[in-house]
Every structure is written in C-alpha cells, then in structure tokens.
C-alpha cells in the first residue's frame, strides 16, 4: 500500500469512527501528544490532547448521531511526514430529537509515519468554511481580519 493510500485509509477510519460513534477508533488515528488546534475550542497539545479529544467526542456521541463527510483536497508526502487538507462536513442529529445541525469546516492535518509504519495525525487545525465567492466580492476582507485581532 502506498503512503497516500494508507493516509486515505486512515481518513476513512476517521470518518467511520464518527459515523459509528466509536471513540477508540477515532483516537487510533491520532498520535500520542498530537496538537489539537480545532476552531471554537481551546488549544491542547502534548499528553492532554488525546484525553481531551476523548472527553469531547464521548460527550458528542452521547448527545448526537454524527454523519461526517470527508472531502480530501490533496495529500502530500515527504518521507515520514505528510500533510493533507480539505473539508469536513459534519451533520449532528440530536438523540433527543430536533433539527439536525450541519457545519462545514476546512481542515489541515500533519501526519507522521511511526516505526510501526502506521500514519497518525500529529497536528489538526480547522476553521469554518465560507461559500465560494469571486475575489472582487471580498470587499470586507480587512474587517474580517481585524475582527480576529480584537
């Protein structure tokens, strides 16, 4: 199996873990001590990151049935390091009933191939996606940047 195929397969594990509510399967895709720079939540890295991810996803799956759609834009491999980026479209259906919630985020992942030849995520970062737009429509771009600096 090529490195790209192996990362595609790991991303499939990632997706299936969400869609089956399997926390251990999800955690198996992440390296111990990975850096979690997910949007909307505090940053965790080192030993804490995996236990925080476990806690977050246990809570998530207790309250929602998840349906994750993964769209990988590109995978690039350099020796035992790789990165990929794309979109995650997550739909959460409340167990208690109610309207499903869908969010689409663009993500970047840094991967490392361990001595066991398995690829795992060392860094994860994402942010909310925006609808496609032509460059000349981005008139308020500066104000968007400034919002983040306040």
């Amino acid at each position: 199996m090529s490195d790209i195929d192996a990362i595609n397969a790991a991303k499939t594990q990632f997706r299936e873990a969400y869609n089956t509510g399997d926390v251990d399967r999800l955690l198996s895709v992440f390296a111990d001590g990975f850096a979690d720079l997910s949007a909307g939540v505090p940053t965790f890295f080192g030993k804490e990151a995996k236990s925080v991810l476990r806690s977050r996803t246990v809570n998530l799956f207790q309250n929602y049935r998840a349906n994750l759609l993964v769209t990988i834009m590109s995978i690039r491999v350099v020796h035992t390091t790789a990165y990929d980026f794309g979109w995650h479209t997550l739909t959460l259906v409340p167990h208690k009933g109610g309207e499903p919630i869908t969010s689409r985020r663009r993500y970047f992942e840094l991967w490392h191939k361990g001595t066991d030849a398995k690829w795992r995520i060392e860094l994860f970062i994402d942010n909310p996606d925006l609808p496609p737009a032509m460059p000349d429509c981005e008139t308020n771009l500066l104000s968007v940047y400034l919002q983040g600096s306040q």
Partner: protein, 87 residues
C-alpha cells in the same frame, strides 16, 4: 467500506471514469467523492460536456461548402503572406 480519495487523485481518473475504464472499487470511491465535492462534480460535468461535444458529430455540422471556402481563404492568406515576404 469505501476508502477516501482526494480531489487530485479524482482529477487524474476523471477521463478513465467517463470511459468506464475504472475498477468497481475505484468507481465507488470516485462516486462517493463526487457526492460531497462540488468542485470535482463541476470538473466531471465539464469533462463530460467536452467528451459529448467531441463525440456528437451533429454539434459540429458545418454549412455546405464551408470546408472548401475555409481552405481557399487559408491558401489565399498564405499566398499573400509569401508574396509580402518576398518584397
């Protein structure tokens, strides 16, 4: 279980997909990707349109005598160019 595939891999396989020259496994991966990727769906439709245009002779029906007139005009243009370059 359908394995993920990236946009870049999809683009490499689009012509094979349109020509039915992919394995069932790869076809399933491509179709799962198209469901969630508007960009690749647009590329697929664009490539499909090109293939359809090329294969559909009626789209390129030209008026009677068009080819002869075009050939003659090209010949005339070439001849004029040659004469100018000799002076």
């Amino acid at each position: 279980m359908v394995i993920e595939i990236s946009c870049e891999e999809v683009w490499r396989e689009i012509s094979n997909y349109l020509e039915n020259d992919v394995s069932p496994q790869l076809r399933a991966r491509l179709e799962a990707h198209f469901k969630g990727c508007a960009h690749c769906t647009a590329v697929l439709k664009g490539a499909g349109n090109v293939v359809q245009l090329v294969n559909d002779g009626s789209v390129f029906d030209l008026p009677d005598g068009f080819s002869n007139r075009l050939y003659k005009r090209l010949q005339d243009r070439l001849a004029t160019g040659r004469r100018k370059s000799h002076h």
